[in-house]
Symmetry: C2
């Protein structure tokens, strides 16, 4: 079937490039490339399929939103066995908040795939979260629920979901680490520098050292995020000692 498809409908140069970039992003080989193209098409393009149905990401966004919601629900259910229904609902809202999804979409730099007839500057911030959801919808249609789950684990849960922080117990890892170092009379440095490499979006890197020894690194699209990421890693490295006082 795949073989026939290749003969009948050879990949264009553009498709081949999209395929390669998606493969890196998704950690699997996408099969139905048109689903992803749809996930990255803004309504302003005004494309129609052969039946006159608009091709854009809005329907996929609806689908992806609901799959994302159920994956996060099942993660929280298992992760926090003591959490009440109200607690779980609240935690999920935080994780799938518009603000959070926009951040996710930006960090994955999904906008580089988007086709739109509106200037990037004018599409608004929500497009980042919307296409993240649409991408989840496309993965579901291309593969299945389990693949979505894996993608969401790798790209949402592992890098972003931190129950303690979401609960407000820890508002800043950097603050926590500094406070702990001062109390313990340890010397600390946060060495932060721009590190965009060849990437279109600005990136920052940070190295955290305690008493002259480098403990953790972080890298993200803002100084603050990179520092929080590194500080969180320091926190997990010293968790026992920090919690003991």
């Amino acid at each position: 079937m795949n073989f026939i498809r290749k003969i009948v409908k050879p990949h264009s140069e553009e498709d081949a490039q999209l395929y390669n970039e998606l493969k890196k992003l998704l950690n699997f080989s996408p099969r139905r490339i048109n689903k992803y193209k749809k996930a990255f098409t803004h309504r302003s393009v005004q494309m129609l399929d052969s039946k006159g149905i608009p091709i854009n990401y809005e329907r996929l966004e609806f689908l992806g939103d609901s799959i994302l919601g159920s994956v996060i629900a099942s993660y929280l259910y298992k992760k926090v066995p003591t959490g009440s229904e109200g607690y779980l609902t609240q935690m999920r809202s935080k994780i799938v908040s518009r603000e959070h999804l926009n951040e996710l979409g930006k960090d994955l730099d999904l906008i580089r795939f988007v086709k739109s007839n509106i200037d990037q500057a004018n599409v608004g911030d929500n497009i980042h979260g919307n296409i993240f959801e649409a991408l989840v919808g496309a993965i579901y249609l291309d593969k299945n629920y389990n693949t979505c789950q894996k993608f969401i684990y790798e790209n949402v849960i592992v890098p972003y979901v931190d129950i303690e922080k979401l609960e407000g117990k820890i508002t800043s890892y950097k603050g926590l680490i500094i406070e702990w170092c001062q109390k313990q009379k340890k010397k600390y440095t946060f060495d932060t520098y721009e590190d965009s490499g060849n990437e279109a979006i600005k990136h920052f890197s940070v190295k955290v050292s305690i008493d002259g020894e480098q403990i953790a690194k972080g890298r993200a699209t803002s100084k603050k995020k990179a520092e929080e990421q590194a500080a969180k890693r320091v926190y997990f490295a010293f968790q026992k000692e920090i919690n003991l006082g």
Copy 2:
């Protein structure tokens, strides 16, 4: 593992009965019977597990609700390729409305499984929908997403989801059939009678004949529902002729 569990923790008589009834309801053999017991335990029972965590269906309801939402979303996405995001959202709201889920829970007579310290008359109508959702959550934990999807197809989509009716294009199949018969000068009868058999809940059956020939039957917990079910079957039997006028 299963073998060890059987030795260590033999099924009680009560569990064995629940197992048998669940098997009939679910169309598969449940494995982790405790998940289902939890799905049918009302908070009024005030049970705690060995860690002091309350055992009741509320967390499972949260989980099941979100899985149900995503299964319905993916059904609608595929079923109505012309439907906009707004349309899909609206249709899903109708399908998973509190009212609709309560009806579903009642029709499956899930209340027979429920443990509660409040009189059935006082728990309110929403318990039927809530335990339906909790049951979906239990199925997910016992099996997987695909099994939930199959259960929801068999128990929600096939018997209840009718896009045309949800869209308001058809408000009553009985009305539609009567109107068509009158226009076509056909004789019709709706022969409706109580038919509860050994069941605890009252049931009604109906036979619909057109020009003396029995076309379809229906059976449900209310006269109106049984008639709509039978009329819908007549509609599908004569769909072409009815749509031609």
